[in-house]
Assembly symmetry: C2
Homo-oligomer: 254 residues x 2
């Protein structure tokens, strides 16, 4: 079993940010500077081309830490952030850029590439979860959620399908394809985000992925606008969703 | 111009409930027992077969009053609550019950009946708004929202299309048909609720009505489940939506 090594620590406005590794995988853990003895854990998967400290991740993570007192772990996906790219990563990314530049459908490339990354990432995320649950401020039997949009959904859906410790998840903005059979195995409460006028992921694709979850409680939030204008109030909404399901009060409502 | 007559008043847990009439139309106004000198107004339209004091209306209204300090006016639709039914009302209701009992599509009957009610109700709602804005605690230039699901949407969409005083609205759970041209004229922020597994209103109908609003900011909330299991947390969400757009802080978050 890979153990957790803290490599750096920096406090910032009520949040303690600790870089850590589990085996080869570099991650960051954001925790309340002062809080309960134990609090729920929310692992977070970043989007494609982003990394564990990307602005969008940091903003969402801060809302969860300061709003609910949660611990949030953002995990570098294979080939992302501080992790080396393989020749295969480089090739997939080159094909993706080429398709985007030519105005050709990027879906088939993203679906294939992210499915491969998910195969590698799911056991890594599980090992990270094992290691984090050894920490006294998290604990082995505390509530665990998940947040991951776009590539964070491509990895998160197969992760949640096999990981019984995760009991509520925020997903969104992904093609169904490689994920639909895994989504059908998922029964935990889901909040699913999509952009109604997404120019990259067709509306029907987003609706089909939402439809495929077997969850009795699932909520679709579809907002007017293109892929990149995802509204800030949906990050606030995901905090309330996780607070409701992981059993924590929202102390500083947005 | 019809003036407002208060006919009864009863305080209850921080909310003052005042029955009133404007012309022939009986309504109820719910206001904070103590609050700001002036506060935004939210007229609310009830569902078909319900009335101004129906449990679902009272619960939502209370959230808006106690959560945001809003004034909420719930208005009896023609043929509903304390208002007489016409022979035509009786006939439409009989046809609706017959179709429901036979398992035949109720959509065409509801669409036709509610379109007729909306023609009568829109000027009534506007007269009620005129009269309420004469009250010093509301005022002629204060923010105005709207909440109406199911029949409240059938009346609310044509109302909002012609009523520039309403600047944010919560709609949902209605067939598009008679409303789609009116919805295309609406540009204010919209929160739109639907049930993903609605056995009465087809999924495609709900999505089509949401799609037709011209609003730059519009959000679809679709929840797993049938028509009648509309989740309580969506009422909380609509309070936050109106607080955001009518410029009031949520003082007691749900």
């Amino acid at each position: 079993m890979n153990s957790l090594q803290f490599t750096a620590e920096s406090p910032s406005n009520g949040v303690i940010e600790r870089d850590f590794t589990v085996g080869e995988v570099p991650d960051v853990l954001l925790s309340p500077a002062s809080g309960a003895d134990r609090a729920p854990l929310v692992p977070m998967g970043h989007g494609g081309g982003a990394h564990k400290k990307h602005r969008a991740m940091a903003g969402r993570a801060r809302l969860l830490v300061t709003g609910c007192g949660f611990h949030v772990a953002v995990i570098d996906a294979p080939g992302h952030g501080d992790r080396p790219r393989t020749a295969r990563d480089e090739q997939e990314i080159a094909e993706l850029r080429k398709a985007q530049a030519a105005g050709e459908p990027e879906g088939p490339i993203v679906v294939r590439y992210n499915a491969r990354l998910a195969e590698l990432a799911v056991p890594e995320y599980q090992a990270t979860l094992d290691a984090l649950q050894e920490l006294p401020e998290i604990g082995a039997d505390g509530p665990v959620g998940y947040v991951g949009i776009v590539m964070g959904t491509a990895i998160g859906v197969p992760l949640v399908a096999v990981e019984p410790r995760i009991t509520a998840a925020v997903f969104g903005m992904m093609w169904p394809d490689a994920r639909i059979e895994k989504a059908k195995q998922i029964t935990i409460p889901i909040e699913f985000d999509m952009q109604w006028d997404n120019e990259r992921i067709p509306r029907e694709a987003g609706l089909a992925l939402f439809d495929s979850f077997a969850s009795k409680e699932k909520t679709l939030h579809a907002n007017a606008g293109k892929h990149s204008v995802f509204p800030r109030f949906e990050s606030d909404s995901s905090v309330r969703f996780l607070a409701r399901h992981l059993g924590q009060a929202v102390t500083s409502p947005a």
